[in-house]
Symmetry: C2
Subunit: 315 residues, 2 copies
């Protein structure tokens, strides 16, 4: 049986990471409110350090380790934001970070990781290659592994975004979050449950990477290998702890189409003047394209990140 984090872990994470991450602002849009006939509050983690909520979980994991555990640094595999986040956290704590990246990672992501002084270790694409390369790095360096999402400290750290959102805007009927490996929704579920105001949490996935919806419906973890979606942050399948939290606490998991993700992303750029990545657009797509209707409700959304390659936009 794996350890499952609790609300107390989210509260502890908030204290632990307060000096290292931004308290991000909450934005709203009168157009979005009009279209949805609701009040929608966007927690802007695209404005977080490293451009994504991942800074929260990584800082929580790195600063929760004692000096002995962390003396040889930290390691992970990541094609995206978690690698940069772990690199940042390690740089702040002044320990080495090793990030295994598949050879098809974008140059933008690669240089972000290097910018935070981490050592990039290349590997062939594919989850097995990544895991093998990471095992070798840990073997050789003695670094402590920090998993991108199936890690209690990481999950607890991600939950701090929802805590701040609820503190800032007061009662919410529902919070919508994108679902990839399940770190963000796991932490958000703990935060909403512990907060005690009856806020429901609904996960939103690309239909082309709907392992979480399938898992939620069947009550058992479904893995989808290499799904094809523009929402590059949501291609991972749920981790063990992440599935457990969704299974216990989630209200629902719903899906959106690729074209809806792109339209929602463009809406936010054009109307709200915020650069968000496709993954972050997924819950907005659910609202704009009426995948769920919540008239009169107070709806929180976690805008997960804003890291995009401006030379390859989807329109």
């Amino acid at each position: 049986m794996v350890d499952i984090p609790t609300y107390a872990d989210v509260l502890a994470a908030r204290e632990r990471i307060a000096g290292y991450v931004h308290r991000t602002p909450v934005h709203s849009s009168s157009t979005l409110n009009a279209v949805t006939q609701a009040q929608v509050f966007l927690k802007c983690e695209n404005l977080q350090r490293v451009g994504a909520f991942k800074a929260r979980g990584a800082c929580n994991a790195v600063f929760a380790l004692d000096d002995e555990q962390i003396t040889k640094g930290v390691a992970t595999h990541s094609s995206g934001n978690h690698g940069a986040a772990l690199a940042l956290a390690a740089m702040i704590r002044n320990v080495p970070a090793h990030v295994v990246m598949p050879s098809n990672s974008s140059d933008v992501k690669r240089s972000a990781v290097r910018h935070y002084q981490a050592k990039v270790v290349n590997c062939d694409p594919g989850m097995r290659n990544r895991e093998e390369a990471l095992a070798r790095v840990i073997q050789e360096t003695g670094a402590h592994m920090v998993h991108p999402y199936d890690d209690s400290l990481v999950i607890a750290g991600q939950g701090t975004a929802a805590l701040e959102l609820m503190d800032d805007v007061g009662g919410l009927d529902v919070i919508l979050v994108p679902v990839g490996g399940g770190g963000l929704i796991g932490g958000t579920l703990l935060a909403a449950e512990g907060y005690g105001k009856g806020t429901r949490v609904i996960g939103v996935e690309p239909r082309q990477a709907d392992d979480a919806r399938q898992s939620f419906r069947r009550g058992a973890r479904v893995i989808i290998d290499s799904p094809d979606t523009i929402a590059d942050g949501l291609r991972a399948s749920l981790g063990e702890r992440n599935f457990e939290l969704i299974h216990r606490h989630a209200d629902d998991i719903i899906c959106v189409e690729e074209s809806e993700i792109i339209a929602a992303m463009r809406f936010v750029w054009e109307r709200m003047k915020l650069v968000i990545e496709p993954s972050a657009a997924v819950p907005i797509a659910a609202l704009l394209h009426r995948r769920l209707e919540l008239p009169g409700k107070r709806i929180g959304l976690i805008i997960s990140g804003g890291n995009v390659d401006l030379d390859h936009l989807p329109w």
Copy 2:
């Protein structure tokens, strides 16, 4: 002799428009601070209503008119943000707005004006055609003309952005603003002067549209017809009142190159996750490309707007 607005007009504008415009946030970037060796505060008017500071001046002008003056509505010519701003202000006050737009205006701008229920009147491109078309509209409708920048109420309204910025961040050594027709810098000069903390104001222009720099140096208004710059909000030459304010109060006017504007725009999108238009990138370009060096200083920037055509990006 034309009427020149004063600091009292800016304070009055703040009261008058408070319920109609957003109090926009101030963002900062550790990278920008590191590059400039200064503390830089960005007043985000891209997050203002209609996506630009122009909402301030337009609302001030529309709400300063008495019922009799405004009963037949308002009119202007604009290829850009002022048209949408005036349309919004008129919609709020529930009077008609007529916006003369040259036939080469972008569809995005045109539909923004229509979105706020204004009547769009088409004309051929060129300032003379625009002015003639506007004169006809005013003749036919009896609407009150609100000039985009050479208008005391408009100038006073634009100055409220700098007031808020100084209130929010405390003392500033200098404020940098983009210069087109001079509405924003005019109001900013009044605000900084009246605030009484010795804040200097420096205008920044595209070198390819440097009428304000030339005018400032010569002490006489220089007009440049149809300058070619990507900063479409800065193609206008200074108005009469605007020149007068710059002549009296500006510290300096400096210039940046087109490539620097594009690079600065991209920097803000990529690193700060904010959608800004080329005109708004002009003062950032001056800092990033060392057109002026202000180490150790506290620098305010007015980010003028965020209206761009996402189908035609300059990279």
